[in-house]
Symmetry: C2
Subunit: 405 residues, 2 copies
């Protein structure tokens, strides 16, 4: 029943992001996102940095002193980014984002290493993925490298005070986000958008005592579908999923294992990727996860890193498979004693061991080593990736943030 | 990859709206939405009312002097509503609505009648539907009658000046909207929300010269799916659909005819309901539209009113059928000369005749009477409902707004 305006030609909204100077060569005559043009408007009111307990129990996310914003207009392109005090946004009631969910985001962390350095983990992948998401939700794209520079800029300013060197092993959560701000009622690609980056505290989620317990999705709820947008990190994938966690079935369970289709393909766990380590019927040990090709699931950075690590370093011991697999296959494997481990991956969860899956009243119980608080292979992957995050191992995936001494 | 907080118990978020005093009897101890508590904060700066041409060509929706807002908190319930000057909202960057699309809305119109009175059309249906949408997107529900009173209040204040009696035949568009405002990163039902109502101008969309031309949805795009939320008026149904209208295939076309499933079931046209009038193979004239039972499409107020009118008044002449029907059936009917008329319905479009449907390069051409600018039956329905909207016929569906003389 919503009115729809005349079609926006808007092909520029949906084309791949032009890269740097190439953009001009390609004939685009609107301004590109350019981190070098940043305008600094430092806060004059530095806020107190909370201790970890306070940060984790707050009903509102506590963010650092600054955020970065950049305005886009269809007619002129990207304005100069600003670094400015963190605070509320002024948004018109008619704004596209509030009415039509024209929004997409990323989730990343900055890790304070054992060596005192602050690192991002493969930030280029997040920046490229935000472009994929932006295209899907009819928001403007940009040069991913410029976005990465802006993230580094924010952390260079706020990192030293908000995640000081004596907090080794700690992290800040970074949320880059792009929203449609045109103040117009009508279903059409917005002609104005706001990109912003904030950093704050979220709880550590990678180690539920005894493992994470999953309940399969209710039979009448589907998270994403073929021809939809499960692969894109857009708000529309998250709000509508919240209802699945409400109700008595979740008593004692942490997250939903989202099934898809008549056969119950395992897709995502909560808002993270889902892995199983099992013995195949031929006796081979296999790490299995849902595939990307039907665009049902998010291509997680941690997912990809797990797969790459196991393929490169554990080859011979473990076969890596990306294919559709069903809840029925898991029950069959359980009956035959072939399930070894399971875990969820994501920036929020990092690598989180799973100990139980309930489906229609029946349970799959998955062993967790009480010492390691994980299965052996899960623990190995978690250790190797954790060492990269926290600078215990030198690796190109860890990108050091320059900070003032 | 988004972090998910500990499950919110939140069953109250998802239960049907308690009705008035019954709420207290039911043991709810948070405050209900109560229109009688409204606080008036009138503007001291009345803005100029634009003429229709200005209003229709603005890149931003021009709204009236005031809006109504009401804050909800999980702990305390609904605060007193406020009528206050229309203007920007202050929203935290971490707000649920911006990150996770926790948002739902309604679209209604207030019509200035030939008799000088201002009317709503079946507003109770919109208010009840917003509760359905709110439940689906994990936002709070409320007494629909209180929402209707708030809409009437806004129009009583702004109607006389913004849609004066000398603008008979004109309308104001009304957008009630509910957004999740809790400033917390993490996928969980928001504990704070804002309900607001605004009124403004949108273009008249019910009469494209020569009829509305539809292009079927691209093969790789699906609007809504069984187990999803196509029936709910939530932002997540709209933003992701915008991409379908971008690209050269839309040259010369106004809206998308959304197909579903392998057989290409016809579901919605743009963001409105889709109807065909045809001769069945048995020679009977039939008005057909997609059914509601699989929750793929919105239960439109105009859709329902069309069906009720034809069932009550044109019985004998026209059979009314709500069932799945496919694009293939339309092509077959066209080949056999059985297609008589087609139209889209919605608050924005009202009843909009359709003259062409293109699918994979092939066209279905539908006759439009050049005099009526519609088919005969479409014109009859449009006339009867239009007479109710504009007070030319006295009918319980038209609800008069009290205004100061």
């Amino acid at each position: 029943m919503a009115p729809t305006a005349v079609p926006v030609s808007g092909t520029q909204l949906n084309s791949p992001a032009p890269k740097g100077k190439e953009a001009l060569a390609n004939g685009s005559n609107t301004a590109q996102l350019d981190a070098s043009k940043i305008i600094y408007k430092f806060t004059t009111n530095l806020r107190a940095v909370p201790d970890e307990a306070t940060a984790n129990t707050s009903d509102e996310t506590i963010c650092t002193d600054h955020m970065i914003t950049a305005v886009w207009r269809a007619s002129t392109g990207w304005e100069a980014p600003e670094l400015k005090p963190y605070g509320p946004l002024s948004i018109m009631p008619t704004a596209s984002v509030l009415n039509y969910a024209t929004e997409c985001f990323e989730g990343m962390k900055a890790y304070r290493g054992d060596d005192g350095k602050l690192r991002l983990f493969r930030p280029n992948l997040n920046c490229e993925r935000l472009n994929v998401s932006a295209s899907r939700i009819s928001l403007p794209t940009f040069d991913a490298a410029e976005m990465e520079k802006l993230i580094v800029t924010l952390l260079s300013v706020d990192g030293p005070r908000w995640l000081p060197k004596d907090r080794a092993g700690g992290f800040l959560y970074i949320r880059p986000i792009l929203i449609g701000t045109q103040a117009r009622i009508g279903v059409h690609a917005p002609k104005e958008a706001l990109f912003y980056i904030m950093a704050g505290f979220i709880p550590r989620l990678d180690s539920y005592p005894g493992g994470m317990r999953l309940h399969t999705s209710p039979d009448d709820l589907v998270r994403a579908w073929v021809g939809g947008y499960g692969y894109a990190k857009i708000g529309a994938n998250y709000g509508p999923s919240m209802i699945a966690k409400q109700g008595p079935h979740m008593q004692g369970f942490h997250e939903i294992l989202w099934l898809y289709g008549d056969k119950g393909e395992c897709t995502e766990a909560g808002a993270s990727n889902f892995f199983v380590v099992w013995k195949r019927k031929d006796g081979k040990t296999e790490l299995i996860t849902a595939p990307l090709d039907d665009k049902l699931i998010l291509s997680g950075v941690t997912r990809r890193s797990c797969l790459e690590f196991v393929r490169q370093k554990l080859i011979g011991d473990i076969e890596v498979t990306e294919r559709k697999f069903t809840i029925g296959e898991l029950f069959e494997a359980q009956a035959e004693g072939r399930i070894l481990e399971s875990f969820a991956t994501g920036t929020g969860f990092f690598i989180c061991p799973i100990s139980q899956i309930r489906h229609r009243g029946q349970d799959i119980m998955i062993p967790i080593d009480p010492e390691l608080q994980a299965g052996e292979i899960t623990h190995k992957i978690k250790t190797v990736l954790g060492d990269i995050l926290y600078g215990r191992a030198n690796h190109s995936w860890g990108v050091v943030i320059p900070e003032k001494e």
